[in-house]
């Protein structure tokens, strides 16, 4: 499992990384692997506001259509429009070109509530053991 060293992770497998005063959000390498081939990504509109934990979109693979949740609350400033034609970018490069949304967090301190890479790795390992 690859990890983005700068990012923090949510229990629901989304990650958040600062870029200036905005957050770039995607799903983890582990999550894209578990979903297998991603065929469609449904994203919110720019300007939509969500609370932490709200579903902001759907990532659909050949196996399942899964909701994706806000790791922090905030207002959407951009969505990755490349995914409309190339949803496989989420599989190929989850921490780079496969990002999902950018948002302006309503409470930057929520970042600190998320897991760092090591904690996330431990959570995934524990989940797999079950």
């Amino acid at each position: 499992m690859k990890l983005d060293p700068e990012a923090r992770y949510a229990k629901t497998h989304e990650l958040a990384r600062w870029d200036g005063d905005e957050i770039i959000c995607g799903i983890s390498d582990h999550a894209q692997g578990a979903l297998s081939d991603i065929v469609y990504v449904e994203l919110p509109d720019v300007g939509d506001a969500f609370d932490k934990g709200d579903a902001f979109g759907v990532v659909e693979s050949v196996k399942a259509a899964s909701d994706v949740y806000m790791p922090m609350g905030g207002e959407i400033t951009a969505v990755n429009e490349d995914l409309e034609d190339m949803p496989e970018l989420v599989n190929k490069d989850p921490y780079g070109q496969g990002w999902l949304i950018r948002f302006k967090p309503s409470d930057p301190a929520e970042f600190d509530d998320l897991m760092d890479g090591a904690a996330y790795e431990a959570m995934v390992a524990a989940e797999e053991e079950e």
Partner: protein, 451 residues
């Protein structure tokens, strides 16, 4: 002997596990007066006796074999013999969707062909494998339109001349969602395309019937343009038999085309099973409820068929599914596919033309009768409105009792301003003699009333 899988010991173990002493205690929350009602059933009878009793009950039915001019959503069309012959083959005879493509290629191919023909008929790009009936398909179209707008739009504009039962089912489906379903409360004021004035930025979709409930055909382009101007979808509930000769709704800007498919190879069937069809544009395919069969190739490059895009269905996505009514009408969809294939493009057109011409012959004849007025301001397909000289219920009773004719639909039931108006339906099944007899009977009635 009834098959009861649980022994007394099993039941005691289950009761103990959940911490109640008896079945009676388990049902303690059910109000006492309905908890163990006395059913007061007669004692059992033999098979012969049961058959006699059921046959004597069935003898009270009036089979629709004779002269029938009732439509209003259910239509008596000829069902080619090949439909039943194919339908009743053991390989096909199930209402269920096949989940195992490796053993179900025949059924999947038939559904795929059904979808293809529905698309051709409606002018749409993708069709699902069917819904219960026209009303539920219409309601599913509303849900799809709401989801296209991510539930941000809360208004649904319906034409007053969408089938009254479809309007009722739309309201039942969406109750509790906090929607505004509007347009049809001003019955008598607004026409089909005039509902455009109610469209706004909060409107998810407009729904119109084609031909409308009163049989009239309208150009839907102005309504489609008005809907698209505010970002709303146009949903058209269409009569598929009429589409054999009319311009497909897709060519007029419809975004979703639904309807009742009973007229395609289905009998009147005592009101069911019927067939809801649902077709839309590719861009909305992920909002479409129900099953979808797709064509693919196997590892050897051979053509094959599979259920596709199932990830949004109830068995995978549970409460987030596009619809929680998973059932389709597989057998009726097959009947429609066989019927459409048997008729072919020219046959479908011929059936539609027969309906059209016979209905217009009937309308012309009735219009000659003093006291009766036929609505002809707009073109119609196979149904038309007749203003009668007396109450429709009385006319229908006379037609049935004296002439064995099933008359038209009493529009006063749904449209107060159309009291005394009858909706007559003529299909290819009505002979010229039947139509002439109807006209004669209506004329006799008038003479009697005058005398």
């Amino acid at each position: 002997m009834p098959y009861i899988p649980h022994s007394e010991a099993d039941r005691q173990a289950m009761l103990a596990a959940i911490g109640v002493r008896s079945i009676e205690e388990l049902f303690a929350d059910v109000p006492e007066h309905v908890r163990f009602p006395a059913l007061n059933l007669p004692t059992g009878i033999s098979e012969i006796e049961a058959r006699h009793e059921l046959e004597s009950l069935a003898a009270h039915n009036l089979p629709v074999t004779g002269s029938c001019f009732l439509g209003a959503g259910a239509y008596r069309h000829y069902v080619p013999a090949v439909v039943d012959a194919v339908l009743r083959r053991g390989e096909f005879y199930t209402a269920y969707t096949p989940y195992q493509p490796e053993i179900s290629q025949g059924t999947l191919q038939a559904i795929f062909e059904y979808q293809t023909m529905i698309c051709a008929l409606t002018g749409m790009e993708v069709s699902n494998a069917s819904h219960y009936d026209g009303a539920t398909a219409t309601a599913e179209a509303v849900i799809a339109a709401l989801n296209v707008h991510r539930l941000k739009r809360r208004k649904v504009v319906v034409s007053p001349f969408l089938h009254p039962e479809y309007r009722a089912v739309v309201r039942t489906y969406t109750q509790g969602m906090g929607l505004e379903v509007t347009g049809d409360e001003r019955i008598g004021e607004l026409g089909n395309c005039e509902i455009a004035e109610l469209l706004d930025q909060d409107t998810a979709c407009a729904i119109v019937q084609y031909p409308d409930f009163l049989g009239r055909i309208e150009d839907l382009i102005p309504l489609a343009e008005a809907a698209h101007a505010v970002g709303a979808l146009l949903v058209v509930a269409a009569n598929p038999v009429a589409l054999g000769m009319l311009k497909p709704p897709g060519a007029m800007g419809a975004d979703i085309v639904v309807g009742e498919g009973q007229g395609l190879g289905g009998g009147l069937n005592f009101g069911g099973p019927y067939l809801g069809f649902f077709a839309t544009r590719m861009e909305y395919v992920r909002r479409m409820a129900g099953r979808l069969v797709g064509q693919t190739v196997d590892i050897e490059g051979k053509r094959g068929f599979v259920l596709t895009l199932s990830t949004r269905e109830q068995h995978i996505r549970r409460e987030k599914a596009t619809s929680n009514i998973c059932t389709n009408e597989g057998l009726m969809a097959l009947a429609a596919a066989v019927c459409m294939a048997a008729l072919g493009r020219n046959g479908m057109r011929r059936v539609a033309e027969l309906c059209y011409h016979k209905a217009h012959y009937a309308a012309d004849r009735i219009a000659e009768l003093p006291g009766y007025t036929v609505w002809r301001e707009r073109p119609f397909f196979n149904e038309f409105v007749v203003r009668c000289p007396g109450p429709v219920a009385e006319i229908n009773a006379h037609l049935l009792d004296e002439h064995g004719i099933i008359g038209g639909y009493d529009l006063g039931r749904d449209y107060p301003h159309l009291e005394g108006h009858m909706l007559l339906c003529v299909t290819e099944m009505n002979t010229r003699e039947e139509i002439d007899l109807l006209v004669e009977a209506l004329g006799v009635l008038l003479a009697k009333a005058a005398a």
